[in-house]
């Protein structure tokens, strides 16, 4: 009940504990949220910061993330892949929403820096890694054409629309859609191999 916190170094155990915490959260256990915050805030803040490129904005986004999480915990499906993946996407979506609504984009970090390896956060490591799936998506993205990778990455990390991408890359909208759609099809095949 009073879990002292996420100190496990075992990925499976950590994932299980996070999943359990999410389930307690869905039952309205505020203590579970604090546990989840301690376990995941560094990762989720890193995501918000990376997307928004501004500490104040990222902190506002992070607040949105956990408040929304508390209110939406019931929408988490324990059957889904890893809970940290779900949380990470949740945070990414909140940050992207915020990015679109604000004008902080100019301050955001270039996409290339997203490829940095994470620092070794002792607490975060075990619980936050999605392990080989991570390697897999990188491998599969790497099989796409450069322009496909670029478009998919930019959309994912910056919430860029087709229209914006087409304009930025100076190609017709239809061309951009075609690149991305073919890229997505190939990506899916590769991930499912």
């Amino acid at each position: 009940m009073n879990d002292p916190g996420p100190h496990s170094t075992d990925v499976d155990t950590a994932r299980t504990r996070l999943r359990e915490a999410m389930q307690r959260l869905a039952e309205g256990d505020r203590g579970a949220l604090e546990w989840i915050y301690q376990a995941t805030s560094a990762k989720l803040f890193g995501i918000c910061l990376r997307i928004l490129g501004d500490r104040g904005e990222a902190e506002d986004a992070l607040q949105d993330v956990y408040v929304s999480l508390w209110q939406r915990a019931k929408t988490y499906d324990p059957g889904r892949a890893s809970p940290i993946s779900w949380l990470a996407v949740f945070a990414r979506n909140r940050a992207i929403d915020r990015l679109r609504k604000s004008k902080v984009r100019s301050g955001s970090v270039p996409v290339d820096e997203a490829l940095e390896l994470p620092d070794k956060e002792p607490m975060a490591d075990a619980i936050l890694e999605s392990g080989e799936r991570s390697a897999r998506i990188h491998h599969c993205l790497g099989t796409l054409e450069e322009r496909q990778q670029d478009a998919i990455r930019t959309a994912f990390f910056e919430g860029t629309t087709y229209a914006e991408l087409a304009e930025q890359r100076a190609v017709p909208l239809g061309t951009m859609k075609s690149w991305v759609r073919r890229g997505l099809a190939k990506l899916k095949r590769c991930l499912e191999e």
Binding site: E34, Y37, S41, A42, K43, F45, G46, R50, G56, A58, D60, Q63, D64, V67, S68, W70, Q71, R72, A81, S82, S85, W86, V89, D97, K101, S102, A114, E116, L117, P118, D119, L128, S130, R133, S134, R136, L141, T143, Q148, I152, R153, A155, F156, F157, T160, T161, Y162, A163, L165, W179, V180, R181, R182, L184, A185, K186, L187, K188, R189, L191
Partner: protein, 260 residues
């Protein structure tokens, strides 16, 4: 390897849409369509979930970073407010504003309004509604309002600063005083105050004017939504506010009305 894009067929249209939605590639109209599908079509929702799971590991590459020490207390405070409101704060972000409840009063001394309101207050403890001066739609009141005629007050901390946005609801006068003294404009954003109602979404209480005190008329419909614990949120908006069909911007502060 030869041209990778020549390999294999494209995905079915629906699945493409799911991936595009997850990536955020879609324009506003198609995004709305996708959101509709998301709630009405389990298969589409499943495809969205799958794409999220597929792409999520990309986020592993982002360097973790420690938020400020005050982050958790901030979240707790926001949760308390959200709980009391009984309305998901997240909805505030997505809701289109329905009513522009007030427009910025012009040519009126905010300080004078404040003084007037407080001076007048002792005389307004149990007035007949139709004798209220300058109170917008007449005959609001009803028993409910006058039974709880004590002012409601919210003091909303602004981010990490020592500053607070003061909101005072005076049921007798059917107006709300919004004090933003001490706040300054950044020149690129306005801040807009919203009431989070239990069942009517959010209602704009207008743009907050930094450094000033404003009074906001409270009409009958709005008055019904105001009670001890009512949740207020402050959002960051483009200059001029969220606009008639705009979506509320990010929440930057929140608080609750309390009986004094």
């Amino acid at each position: 390897m030869t041209a990778p894009e020549e390999n294999g067929p494209e995905l079915p249209e629906r699945e493409i849409l799911a991936a595009e939605y997850v990536l955020g590639l879609l324009d506003a109209a198609v995004t709305l369509k996708a959101r509709g599908l998301l709630t009405s079509n389990p298969e589409f929702a499943e495809q969205v979930a799958r794409w999220e799971d597929r792409l999520a590991p990309l986020l592993d590459t982002m360097t973790p970073a420690a938020p400020g020490d005050d982050m958790w207390p901030r979240i707790q405070a926001a949760l308390d407010q959200a709980d009391l409101a009984g309305e998901p704060v997240i909805e505030v972000l997505a809701l289109r504003r329905r009513v522009r409840t007030w427009k910025i009063a012009t040519g009126f001394s905010a300080a004078a309004a404040l003084a007037l309101a407080f001076v007048a207050l002792p005389n307004l403890r149990a007035p007949a509604p139709d004798t209220l001066p300058d109170a917008g739609p007449p005959a609001v009141g009803q028993a409910q309002q006058f039974a709880a005629a004590d002012p409601l007050v919210a003091s909303i901390p602004i981010g990490d600063t020592q500053l607070r946005l003061g909101v005072t609801y005076l049921p007798d006068r059917e107006e709300m005083l919004v004090s933003a003294s001490g706040l300054s404009a950044d020149g690129v954003h306005d801040h807009e105050l919203w009431l989070v109602t239990a069942n009517q979404g959010t209602k704009s209480l207008g743009v907050v004017v930094p450094g000033e005190e404003r009074r906001v008329p409270v009409d009958r419909a709005l008055a019904k939504q105001l009670h001890n614990g009512s949740s207020l949120v402050l959002t960051r908006e483009p200059i001029g506010g969220a606009g008639p069909n705009g979506v509320a911007g990010p929440i930057v502060a929140s608080g609750n009305l309390r009986e004094t």
